[in-house]
Structure formats: structure tokens, C-alpha cells
């Protein structure tokens, strides 16, 4: 299994000179956020800066897509599509919007499109080798727990799953989530609340069993 890149750490691109060092910050909920100068450079057509953007956000985007789609291959396709579309639309990006919200709006759209397509072909969920192995020996209990979480997550209605992931896993504010999903704040809070209740109930049952 491949080692994971932790995007929260500073990373250096050496693929094309000049190399670019990313200095990320953290938002109010402690999530990593990219230096806006990188976004501005990418918007002006700087290929190295765009590559840095991809490098910085790829793992987070892939995590969201995997949880939304329940399939590593589809998730990879959705993330690749997302970054290609981000590149094509960067000139329309308004810097008054938070880049992360804009990126996740495109990603969420891709996931919704793919969900409709794939869900109708097959309801079988394939999680592949995700999440990654951090080099620790296999822990059967941990694997079972992880699978139960994935199964419970997959059982949620798509809108609740999306809201829960954006809020608790991606650490976004409700206003940002509203921009991404097009739903109102109160509706999103309700979705998150119901998702939490469902997950708690389902996984408490698993623990009791």
C-alpha cells in the first residue's frame, strides 16, 4: 500500500522549476487552508502553482469523494475530473469566496453526478484499500470498526452524508456548506443532526453486538 501524503504538512514540488513551497494555514475549525497567493498565481496561469494546489488538496478531496461514493476508483475519477474543471474555471473564481468552498462545490457536484450514474448501475459498495495503512500491523477490531463506519455512512441518505462530511470531517462552516450544496443553513443543520443520530445509533448497536 502506498504511503499517504499528509497535505497538512508543507510540501515541495520539484517537477517543474522553480520549485514552490506551500505554507498552509488553518481555518477556525483547525483545518488546513492554502496560502491565497498560490491560488492567485494559479489563476494567472502559473502551472507550478496549479500543481501545488492539486498536491495540497488532493488527499482531502479524495477522502470526501471516497466517503461520498463508497468506491475508490470512482472517487479517484471524481477528484481528477474536479481538478481539471477547476483549472478550466479558475478565471471565474472570485477571490472574495474561500477557495476551499469553491473547490468543494465543484467536487460535490462531481460526486452527485457520479452517484446518480453509479448508484443505478450497482448498489454494491467497494471500498478498496481505503483508508490507507499507516504502517501499523493489521488490527482486526480496527478493520471491523472502520468497515462498520463505512457501512453506516453508506446507509445515510446522500444529502445527510454530504452535510455530515462537510461539517465534521472537512470542518466547514454552515455558510460555506450552503454555498457548496445550495441548501439553507437550517436545513443543513437538520441534515447533520439526523446523520449524527443515525450514526450514533447504528454504531452503538455494533458495539453492543
Amino acid at each position: 500500500m502506498m504511503p499517504a501524503r499528509d497535505v497538512r504538512e508543507a510540501s515541495t514540488l520539484t517537477s517543474s522549476p522553480p520549485s514552490l513551497t506551500l505554507i498552509g494555514g488553518r481555518n477556525k475549525r483547525g483545518m488546513s487552508a492554502i496560502d491565497m497567493s498560490i491560488v492567485q498565481r494559479a489563476k494567472r496561469g502559473d502551472r507550478t502553482a496549479f500543481a501545488a494546489l492539486v498536491d495540497f488538496y488532493y488527499a482531502r478531496c479524495l477522502r470526501f469523494a471516497v466517503h461520498m461514493l463508497g468506491n475508490a476508483q470512482d472517487a479517484e475519477e471524481a477528484v481528477q475530473d474536479t481538478f481539471v474543471r477547476v483549472h478550466g474555471a479558475l478565471h471565474r473564481y472570485d477571490e472574495f469566496d474561500r477557495f476551499e468552498s469553491w473547490l468543494f462545490r465543484i467536487l460535490a457536484n462531481r460526486c452527485r453526478t457520479m452517484m446518480g450514474r453509479e448508484a443505478r448501475r450497482s448498489r454494491v459498495l467497494v471500498y478498496g484499500d481505503l483508508p490507507h495503512d499507516r504502517g501499523t500491523p493489521p488490527d482486526v477490531d480496527a478493520i471491523v470498526w472502520r468497515e462498520e463506519i463505512q457501512s453506516a455512512l453508506a446507509a445515510l441518505p446522500a444529502a445527510q452524508r454530504e452535510a455530515f462530511l462537510l461539517r465534521h470531517v472537512e470542518g466547514l462552516e454552515y455558510e460555506e456548506m450552503g454555498q457548496i450544496t445550495g441548501a439553507g443553513v437550517s436545513a443543513l443543520k437538520m441534515r447533520v443532526k439526523r446523520a449524527c443520530e443515525f450514526l450514533r445509533l447504528r454504531l452503538a448497536e455494533v458495539e453492543r453486538a
Binding site: F83, A89, Y93, P131, R200
Partner: protein
């Protein structure tokens, strides 16, 4: 609404926050696809939606007034330079569901009237989109035009033959998927007309409201540019709507 966090939820979130393995060539593949898209290659030629808009964002009344009439030509872009124009068009085309149903019902009834005045045939085009005048089609999928033709056999119960047409000239395969074929991409392939490059299929559909989409090259979800759109209740996906027969 107060957010309650507890130990169970924290454990769930902690697990879900684990970052997945990223393929070492992920960024390189993105850049290669960006280069291909710039050259006008690849499936992005079909994927023309405005990605920074939330899907199904409500359309204003003003935009609805600007929407083209049924039968007006529809031009889906193939090149980057055309994408802005196409984006504006698409937003105009999206109409609210009540208005969309109204358009569809009116068009279908008009089709029945035309059909009744003609000699008996298997199918009759009633809702059409004119082919755009020929420009240099370097990508082969420049124009995504659809004609839906309805013939009446029985107004109440019997299936109605509907013709689905998609102009996707460099597509390798096209299928229509919808609630009438269980969304199965293998059930209703469209046949390509070698002279025109237009794909079409005749499908018997029971009267009523149906939702559908085209599947291009087995994976590209493509909406009918001439049909109203609606949102899938379960998955939030765009899909086209048609009203067949008398509702």
C-alpha cells in the same frame, strides 16, 4: 440548533478523517488531463456544465423568459472558447418544474394534433431541434441535439413509441437510461447513422411522466438539451423529463 458531540461521534469522525493514500502520479495525471483538455481532447468535450454553479440552482423568472422556444437550435460547446456562451445558454434553458411540465404537456399535445393530421406512420417528429449550421467540428461532439418524437397508439394505456436522438459525432457509444428501462445502460443502445453521425433509438414507453438521460461512451452522463430538467429525489442528480401520452 445545538451541536452535540460525544465520545462515539468523536471516534467516528476521527476514523473518517483518516486521509486516503494518494497515488504518486495523481498530480501529474491531473496536469496531463489539463493539457489534453486545452488541446480539446478527451471526454471534457462532452462535459460542458458550469462546475462552479451548484447543480439545479433555481432559475429566475427573467432567465425563464429568455429561454429558447421548443424547436430552437441548441448548441453545446466543444471548445474552451465557446464554453461561456454555452453556460449562459444552459442557465436560460433550465426552467422551473411547473413551467417545464407545462411546456412538455403542450408540446406533447401539439404532437398528437400533428400526428392525427398525418397518415399512419410508426413515428412522427413533434418536438425537434434544428441542426446547427455547420461549423468546423474538430471535436465531433460539438452539437448535442435531441429530437423526441411521439406517436400515439392509445391515449390511455398502450406504450407509445418515443424516438431519442443525440448528435454526438465522435462518441463511441450512446445509450439512453431512464425509469422506463431501470436505468440500465445496456438495455437501450442508440444506433449511429453513418451519414449524419446522429445516434437514435425507438423505445416503447408507457404514457406518463418519465425521467431519463443519455450515457455517452459508457460513462458520460449527458442531459437532453431540449427537455426540462429535474432533480433526482435520492441522489440529487440532474435528469431530463418527458411527458408521454395524456397525463
Amino acid at each position: 440548533m445545538r451541536e452535540e458531540r460525544d465520545e462515539m461521534l468523536d471516534r467516528i469522525v476521527e476514523e473518517l478523517k483518516t486521509l486516503p493514500a494518494v497515488p504518486p502520479d495523481a498530480t501529474a495525471r491531473v496536469l496531463a488531463r489539463v493539457d489534453a483538455a486545452r488541446r480539446g481532447e478527451g471526454p471534457s468535450a462532452y462535459a460542458s456544465q458550469d462546475d462552479d454553479d451548484v447543480i439545479f440552482f433555481p432559475t429566475s423568472t427573467e432567465e425563464m423568459r429568455a429561454s429558447p422556444a421548443v424547436g430552437q437550435s441548441v448548441h453545446t460547446p466543444a471548445s474552451k472558447g465557446e464554453s461561456r456562451t454555452a453556460g449562459r445558454f444552459r442557465r436560460r434553458f433550465v426552467v422551473s418544474l411547473p413551467a417545464a411540465i407545462g411546456y412538455a404537456v403542450a408540446a406533447t399535445l401539439a404532437g398528437f394534433l400533428i400526428r392525427g393530421a398525418l397518415p399512419r406512420q410508426t413515428t412522427t417528429d413533434t418536438i425537434t431541434a434544428a441542426s446547427p449550421s455547420g461549423t468546423n467540428d474538430t471535436l465531433g461532439a460539438r452539437a448535442t441535439l435531441t429530437r423526441v418524437a411521439v406517436s400515439r397508439r392509445d391515449l390511455q394505456e398502450a406504450p407509445v413509441t418515443v424516438q431519442f436522438v443525440l448528435d454526438a459525432r465522435r462518441a463511441k457509444s450512446v445509450a439512453v437510461v431512464g425509469d422506463f428501462n431501470s436505468w440500465d445502460g445496456s438495455k437501450t443502445p442508440l444506433q449511429r447513422d453513418s451519414a449524419t453521425g446522429v445516434w437514435s433509438a425507438l423505445v416503447d414507453v408507457h404514457p406518463g411522466r418519465h425521467v431519463y438521460a443519455f450515457l455517452v461512451d459508457g460513462s458520460i452522463w449527458t442531459l437532453d438539451p431540449n427537455a426540462p430538467r429535474t432533480k433526482d429525489a435520492d441522489y440529487g442528480t440532474d435528469q431530463s423529463v418527458m411527458i408521454v401520452g395524456v397525463p
